[in-house]
């Protein structure tokens, strides 16, 4: 057991525990905060594996932007201080799917690698990741960007009734009350 192994195990445990708290806590906003802990622990995992760029991009994008936007959306709609009782649905389908996916991944990795040792790859510098993304994997990268763009356009069309298809409803109540 090297120091890196211990760190990996500890960060993994933090990520798992915080992930469990995300789905079990009764406070909406605290669920978001536990999600921050999970994503931060994953960034720590990247850092231990010497993928520096990936780790900071994870902090910058997931911790710093995505979850802030999640909290933002929760607070715009409803953000009660204290516990809420209506957060849970029926538990067993979620537990089944989660446990199934976890067991499947464990089986897959155990089958693929057994107990063979995999050496650390070269440090994930900006040059290495940039070269990989924009040379070798440029087509999947572009496909993902097009997918995200389509999702963005779709979200705008869905959320704005004045530009969506179909007859425009002019039966809006007159704001002047006449």
């Amino acid at each position: 057991m090297t120091a890196a192994d211990v760190l990996l195990a500890a960060l993994g445990a933090v990520a798992l525990g915080a992930g469990l708290l995300v789905v079990t806590t009764r406070h909406v906003v605290r669920a978001g905060l536990w999600l921050v802990v999970t994503l931060g622990a994953v960034a720590g995992l990247y850092l231990v594996l010497s993928a520096e760029l990936l780790a900071w991009v994870q902090v910058l994008l997931y911790v710093g932007a995505v979850v802030v936007l999640l909290l933002f959306a929760v607070m715009l709609t409803r953000a009660p201080i204290g516990a809420s009782d209506d957060l849970d649905r029926v538990r067993w389908p979620g537990a089944l799917i989660g446990a199934g996916a976890g067991a499947g991944l464990v089986a897959l990795f155990a089958d693929a690698f057994h107990w063979s040792r995999v050496g650390l790859p070269a440090p994930g510098t900006a040059e290495a990741i940039g070269g990989a993304v924009f040379r070798t994997w440029v087509l999947p990268f572009e496909l993902v960007s097009v997918l995200l763009l389509a999702a963005l356009v779709g979200a705008i069309v869905v959320s704005r009734p004045d530009i969506s298809a179909g007859p425009r409803s002019d039966s809006r109540p007159d704001p002047r009350g006449r």
Binding site: L53, V63, V68, F72, M75
Partner: protein, 449 residues
């Protein structure tokens, strides 16, 4: 233009030196905060032709210290409806993130400290600038959680406003730094400073041109966009909508008092110092001496660079104060439109054309005149794109029909709620009927209806 990886000099300090550097950076930021508050009040006062604080200490220099002590001795109020844990941690998160960001800002070159050779910088990593950005984006949590945890309406609205503002302007800020990465070929702060050491030359068709050393001049659009975004990011005037007193009382920290409020205040000023420090590092040559002083050989050696760095940061802080003293606050929609529809597209066009020009200059297959021609073509295309965008935005201006003002009366039948006339006309007083009748009738919405 690409520099060799040379970060070996970092991470070799003995533990006492690391501790000393941490303490010095902490002290520097706290003293800068105390000084910046006094500086801001004094400069704004001079701009408004009044003396400003002048009671405590020489020139009133101890005024911010007195204010800080006063804050510490105030009662610490915890709102009854607050989420206690989050309410406590929000200012802590803000402050920690603000301080952490400064750990990668270089103050000077390698010097000898008690016999140990060490760079005047806590640490540096290959992606140091990303660390600063990550810290400032984590700092948003303090604001949004502080606003939410107060359990009150005005802080919640203020928190939402400032987080939306900081997220929007962070995009523009991150994009403006991209051009520095493109030209310097590195993301480490010490190497970016090194990249601004001397004039680069560019060879276009056998014609050698000297490039300015500072990226602030070489990449002036990025510099301007960065500074604008930095003002928005730090919630400073004219972009201080989260603290718009007339609309939101005090913004996200309305319910905070005593030391917790002091921490938010500290974080705001430390953030100002950090964005100024980053701006100095990225665009103004970092700790390197400016032109007339740099002719002296000793200017960039020893402890002198700390002075140049501090002077540059203070000049940038002066610009912050200057903006606050001169410009009125923007309206929220104007502000958001400016960020998303002006700063970000302009930035993208600039990055695209810069990348094209860099590719052209560094390519081997093009001859000299060819390089020159392609570069000019890229500049012309970028300018044309910009003009087309401006023309399109002008053309799309549509006159919105302004709804007629509500004449007043009861809304929703005779049992509805009473509403005063919304046309800003004072309703006639029953006692002044005679005078009103003799006056010229003013055309109102009520008469037309």
């Amino acid at each position: 233009m690409i520099l060799a990886e040379n970060l070996d000099q970092f991470g070799k300090d003995p533990w006492w030196l690391v501790l000393a550097k941490v303490v010095v950076i902490f002290a520097f930021l706290v003293v800068m905060t105390l000084f910046a508050i006094w500086y801001e009040r004094k400069v704004v006062a001079r701009m408004q032709v009044r003396p400003g604080p002048n009671r405590n200490g020489p020139f009133g220099l101890l005024q911010s210290l007195a204010d800080g002590l006063k804050l510490a001795f105030k009662e610490d109020i915890m709102p009854r409806l607050a989420d206690k844990v989050v309410f406590f941690f929000a200012p802590v998160i803000s402050t920690i993130c603000a301080f952490t960001a400064f750990s990668v800002i270089p103050f000077g070159p390698t010097v000898s400290i008690f016999g140990t050779h060490s760079p005047l910088q806590l640490t540096d990593i290959p992606v140091a600038v990303l660390l600063v950005l990550a810290c400032s984006s984590m700092g948003i949590y303090g604001v949004v959680l502080g606003g939410w945890a107060s359990g009150s309406t005005y802080p919640l609205l203020g928190g939402l406003r400032s987080s939306a503002q900081m997220i929007s302007y962070e995009v523009a800020m991150g994009l403006s730094i991209v051009s520095v990465f493109l030209v310097s070929g590195t993301m480490s702060t010490s190497q970016i400073v090194e990249g601004q050491a001397g004039n680069g030359t560019v060879n276009i068709g056998g014609w050698h041109a000297d490039l300015p050393a500072w990226y602030g001049i070489l990449l002036i659009p990025s510099f301007l966009i960065y500074f604008t975004a930095a003002v928005g990011e730090t919630n400073r005037a004219p972009f201080d909508l989260p603290e718009a007193e007339s609309e939101l009382v005090g913004g996200f920290h309305t319910e905070y008092s005593s030391l917790k409020f002091a921490l938010f205040f500290l974080a705001e000023y430390v953030n100002m110092v950090t964005v100024s420090g980053l701006c100095t590092t990225l665009f103004l040559g970092g700790w390197r001496a400016p032109w007339p002083i740099s002719l002296w050989d000793g200017a960039n050696q020893g402890w002198w660079p700390v002075l140049w760095f501090t002077i540059k940061v203070l000049l940038l802080l002066f610009v912050f104060v200057w903006l606050r003293g001169t410009l009125p606050r923007l309206r929220y929609d104007q502000f958001m439109r400016f960020g998303w529809k002006v700063l970000i597209p302009a930035n993208l066009i600039w990055i695209l054309s810069l990348a094209g020009i860099l590719l052209t200059i560094n390519s081997d297959s093009l001859s000299g005149p060819g390089k020159f021609g392609v570069s000019v073509a890229i500049i012309v295309a970028a300018l044309a794109l910009g003009f087309v965008a401006i023309a399109m935005s002008r053309r799309n201006v549509t006159v919105v029909e302004i709804p007629k003002a509500h004449p007043g009366g009861r809304v929703g039948g005779s049992k509805g709620f009473p509403l005063p006339p919304m046309n800003l006309e004072v309703p006639p007083s029953p006692r002044a009927k005679l005078v009103i009748a003799e006056r010229e009738p003013v055309s109102t919405g009520k008469e037309k209806a």
